[in-house]
């Protein structure tokens, strides 16, 4: 029946919009300081001396251990600051990326992006969801990055 079907669809429209208004809120921005703190703690556990440097893309964590120099930043899945990271890495060493504990020569894209969208939508409705940041890592040769506990920054609850 046309009238009842229309009323039902109008009610569903109002209910769906009302549910969204009631359940969703702006998703909290990723906590750059939390990422930097975890990276610094991981580097210190590996014997590095650390310092923080505020940059346009967030906080860069620098570590030194003897002749070894490391710089780590939070790399957005959009890859917006790819050139900036390349420039920062140039005087240090090759730029690599660590995602969920695994090393990548190039920034991973599809999986981190889908994960980013999923986490953002879950957080908008107040569900707990861990963020999986991409760590952009520049290191001088022979630093032995694999010995560090990258699981510390594989998933963050910020």
């Amino acid at each position: 029946m046309r009238f009842s079907a229309s009323f039902l669809l109008a009610a569903l429209l109002l209910a769906s919009l009302g549910a969204k208004a009631a359940l969703t809120a702006p998703a909290p921005e990723p906590d750059a300081r939390r990422f930097a703190r975890e990276v610094a703690a991981m580097l210190r556990e590996g014997g590095y001396v650390t310092r923080f440097e505020r940059r346009t893309f967030g906080i860069l964590v620098e570590g030194r251990l003897g002749r070894c120099r490391v710089a780590v930043g939070d790399y957005t899945p959009y890859g917006t600051f790819a050139e900036r990271f390349d420039q920062l890495a140039a005087p240090i060493g090759p730029l690599r990326f660590v995602y969920r504990g695994g090393f990548h020569a190039r920034a991973p894209k599809l999986v981190p992006l889908l994960d980013f969208y999923a986490v953002r939508e879950l957080r908008r409705v107040g569900l707990p969801a861990l963020r999986h940041p991409i760590a952009a890592v520049a290191a001088s040769p022979g630093c032995g990055l694999a010995r560090l506990d990258w699981r510390r920054v594989a998933a963050l609850a910020d």
Partner: protein, 277 residues
């Protein structure tokens, strides 16, 4: 036995009437993702003035799609398959995730296009709805996935215009005092997806036959949005002291209105023969 006046007699829901409701449900729920962020951030008055953060082009496209379907007098009754699609759209809309509604709008528009006679109101409305879904969801995903080369093209164009070097998506200020990074939100591709929506809307509404000429007008509208955005970013690079005003102050408003006027003028002029027919 009681009789029922004819105007109150139950009638079967037509496909087009059902689709009109579904387009409205899916699109408004997809819009809600942006709209519900604007209200708490800036207040209701600002949100109203800014059309809830949704481009006037998208509102126009929604109105055109629904009007085409509502005006369809020849539509057949909704089939069981149509009702299954309707159920999927409603379930997606009831989820608290706006992108699910944009995905459902894609499914719905595809169904309307491929399961309706070519040139019918449902097929034309479906084409408009598909363009809206592309702008709301798929265009953004495409830009995010290929942001490197796409933002690089924007930056290269600005570099050519202003005479500065572009490295990837970074541009140096002309006075050498620093530089900017072109982010996905500043890309010409955002405006291009809206230009595409308006071109599809005008061409479907006025029944412009598809061909090289209309395609040329589409390309011109796309080029206009790129030109406006390139000039805006070029101004940021050339006048770094006014970066903030150009980025999200008067420069942003000027660029938005210029793009809107240019895109509407080009698309409507391109369809003038059909409009004046």
């Amino acid at each position: 036995m009681a009789t029922v006046p004819a105007r109150f007699a139950p009638r079967a829901l037509t496909r087009s009437a059902l689709f009109a409701w579904l387009v409205l449900i899916a699109t408004l729920n997809a819009f809600a993702g942006v709209a519900l962020r604007i209200v708490p951030e800036h207040g209701l008055a600002y949100a109203l003035f800014e059309l809830f953060g949704i481009s006037a082009i998208l509102w126009t496209a929604l109105a055109a799609s629904v009007a085409l379907l509502r005006g369809d007098e020849q539509a057949a009754a909704a089939t069981v398959s149509d009702r299954l699609v309707a159920a999927a759209v409603v379930v997606a809309a009831l989820l608290p995730f706006a992108p699910a509604s944009a995905a459902a709008l894609t499914l719905l528009s595809g169904w309307m296009i491929f399961r309706s006679p070519a040139g019918s109101p449902a097929a034309r409305a479906g084409a408009i709805a598909l363009a809206v879904a592309v702008s709301l969801l798929w265009g953004r995903v495409f830009l995010a996935l290929f942001s490197g080369p796409l933002l690089g093209i924007d930056s290269w164009l600005v570099g050519q215009l202003v005479g500065v070097s572009a490295v990837g998506n970074t541009l140096a200020f002309t006075n050498g005092s620093g530089g900017i990074v072109v982010a996905p939100g500043c890309s010409s591709w955002q405006g291009m997806s809206l230009a595409l929506v308006f071109w599809v809307t005008v061409n479907q509404w006025f029944r412009v036959p598809f061909g090289w000429k209309p395609l040329g007008w589409c390309l011109l509208a796309l080029a206009a949005t790129i030109a406006v955005n390139v000039v805006r970013i070029g101004a940021m690079v050339h006048f770094p002291a006014q970066l903030d005003e150009i980025h999200h102050g008067y420069g942003w408003h000027l660029a938005m209105w210029s793009s809107l006027v240019l895109v509407c003028s080009i698309c409507l002029y391109g369809a003038r023969r059909e409009i004046l027919r």
